[in-house]
């Protein structure tokens, strides 16, 4: 785990310094700040940017080991504080979206697995469309439909749950398409498998077969995808938070990259990497709960 974090930090550190742009400019109000030579020299000295890149990297690693992520160049606030302030909003969005996506996927998969050819065809089409739709397009379409035309929901984020509806739908719908595809396959596999036949011969009804056996089977690949889903939700958050004007990590990251705000980019990337690893660990545990075969081994 520490190795992964180190690798992520190292790759990001050098990647952001490879793209054109001077971090000293970020300190002085963004690119093209017309900052004077004296001001730039001062900023470079203050932030240690006048040292060789490798020395800067070592300093950075040293600080990171002490839990100090530095100060944002542009915001002049500690990176930990900025990340802390914005983490909640993004996590809420990601977690609720994941739950909503799983619920939609489950409904679709169940319907298509049990509802015959028409249901299976229609849900297959829905899944493919949902999975293919880009976030920015979906967000704008939802705004046009639910805000501008119908007037049911606010087009930009407002306090309270109502402001969350469109952002969550935007994130959840494409994800539910992916999840439903995977779950349907496993449900169909399960229904056709010998253990379901055995259950039926023991007198289990079709509802019982579905809920107790097939669904459990279907959950396994879906849980396995949760780590990937988390990553996709975070990248989707960049788009969704910008369009719906929600504060969050995605928007912080976008602005930070544009401004070459190195410490903030590194901070956000590290936190997201940490989150990704946590989710992966959790999915391993969840797999064990759902799949008795893993517990035995």
């Amino acid at each position: 785990m520490a190795f992964v974090l180190w690798a992520v930090a190292t790759v990001t550190f050098f990647a952001i310094r490879l793209i054109p742009g001077d971090p000293a400019e970020a300190i002085l109000g963004g690119p093209g700040s017309q900052a004077s030579a004296a001001a730039l020299a001062q900023a470079r000295a203050d932030y240690g940017l006048d040292q060789p890149l490798f020395v800067q990297y070592l300093h950075y690693l040293g600080r990171m080991l002490r839990g100090d992520l530095g100060t944002s160049y542009a915001l002049k606030q500690p990176v930990l504080a900025v990340v802390g302030e914005n983490l909640g909003g993004t996590l809420l969005l990601a977690v609720v979206s994941l739950i909503v996506a799983a619920a939609i996927a489950l409904a679709l998969a169940a319907w298509s697995a049990q509802g015959g050819r028409v249901a299976s065809g229609v849900s297959w089409l829905l899944e493919v469309i949902a999975a293919a739709v880009p976030h920015f397009w979906l967000a704008i379409s939802l705004i046009l439909l639910f805000s501008t035309t119908l007037g049911w929901l606010p087009p930009v984020s407002v306090p309270g749950p109502i402001g969350l509806v469109l952002p969550i739908l935007t994130l959840a719908l494409p994800l539910s398409g992916f999840l439903a595809q995977v779950m349907r396959e496993s449900i169909l596999d399960a229904i056709a498998s010998p253990f379901v036949l055995a259950a039926r011969t023991r007198g289990e009804g079709s509802g019982g077969v579905f809920w107790r056996h097939a669904l459990r089977h279907a959950a396994i690949p879906a849980i396995g995808l949760a780590g990937w889903a988390f990553g996709s939700l975070i990248s989707g958050a960049v788009v969704v938070e910008t369009i719906f004007a929600r504060p969050g990590l995605g928007r912080s990251l976008l602005t930070a990259v544009q401004q070459r705000d190195v410490p903030l980019v590194l901070g956000v990337v590290l936190v997201v990497a940490l989150g990704y690893m946590l989710v992966t660990t959790l999915t391993d545990l969840a797999d064990r709960l759902v799949d008795p075969r893993l517990r035995a081994s």
């Binding site: 002085l28 004077s36 004296a38």
Partner: protein
Amino acid sequence: MKRVVSPVVSILAVALVAAGCTAATAPTGTKPVSGGTLVYATGDAEPTCLDPHVGGNYPQALIASQYLESLVSKNTAGEIIPWLATKWSEAPDGLSWDFTLKKDVKFTDGTALTPETIAANVAHVQDPATTSSTGYLALQKVTGVTAPSADVARFTLSTPDSALLDSLSQPWLAIESATALKRSQAVNCESPVGTGPFIVTKWTRQQSVSLVRNDSYSSPPADATHSGPAYLKAIDWRFLPDSASRYAALQAGTVDVIDNVQPDTLVAAKGSADLVTLDAPRPGASNRIELNSSIAPFDDVRVREAFIRSANVNDAVTTLFFGTAKRSYSALSSVEKSGISEPSLFTYDQKAAAKLLDEAGWSTKNADGYRTKNGAVLELSFPVSTNQSIPAEQSLFEQLQATSKQAGFKVDLKPLDLSSWYGALGKNLYNLVSAPYTKVGPDVLRTLFDSAGTKPAPSGYFANHSQVKDPALDALLEKAATLSDAAERLSLYKKAQKIVLEGFYILPLYDQQNHYLHRSVVKGLRAMPTVSTPTMYDSWLSR
């Protein structure tokens, strides 16, 4: 990201509005009503500091216009008018200026406006630790401020500065409480203290800034329509980066005013009785394509002219801006009264372009139809800043790429983010570029075309992208900057513009677009004639 969204958005938005948004007539009163909160949604970047002395960009100017005030302002006729200073005079030698301050003006922290305050502000802008850029450049000739009497602030200069009043009218040189400036920069960035009609109370990052009315306000600029405190009780200043959702929020009534309105949205909004457009082009330079005269092939004036003749700007502006932008033939914004316009220099003429290229030695064509000379292709690198060029402008560049191809130019459009774009400019790796430049007054010509502006700052930044190095032009511009006689100065600026336009250094497109859209319940909203930022002081809500 915003750039990716918008083309799709435009189609959807147009389709939707065509489908019909209901138009209700708002009750229209004529007598201003006090009270209410106005929600302003800005598409400009969120400032990193609310004190425009620090750095100094347009997003800061937009919001600071609500809580900070300058010594002087400008009216729509382009004349300097009183604001925090009631009158001013230049010494005969031009080396000092006396500003008489308005009486009994108090900052919102209770401190008084005195000549010492002005001195502290100038010192703050000039202090390298403040990292001011826009304000710092505008005060380069100012050596200090003294207090010859209790209500007079005297600016002393190293050389006469005819642009001083224009400079001081800009929000980047607004006057803040000297006591507040002594706090740490982080604190002052979050709660700058001015004399303005509103007070910053809370800044929720990535979301909004809350402003409340200054109940003891007494210092409106001379062109305000009322006196005393503002009508609005509060302003909710929200950051809505996406143009489609910003417009949707305005239509839904979630917000009352939006800025950075795109051409398609302007057209869509025209049919709605609920929405009102406010067009306020920014001062300074016109939006233009700059031709880099320092490297081949544009070191040859014939090739520059050939490119300009081969670019069908008019048709592109008409189709892409739907009549919301007027073609410019000037180096200066149409709000600058000293601007001259030379349409005949910029007529679209492919034959003339072909002839000029033949004369310049680019007489052969390769298999792709591009002109060549000694084996080299007539290729032009055009880094495009996706932060500064709106989607319609980026499409315009694509259309110009197509029309200049007919003459044999191979234009390579390179969309870049701001940092990479400055990087390309700093390395002199461009033939064409387009960059907006906002500044009050014709002295912007000196910024953009004086040879001093070709030397990149250590950051790589420079303003003279055409890389004009003409001693005669330098002399004109430097002389004009010191002249106090207005008529004489005007004649020099006109001569200077002629040199620039006739040298085919730039291809003017249109004014720097700056459109606001507001709900019709908002009354009395206007843009300041200085840098075209909106002011809510005279605004009221008729809900």
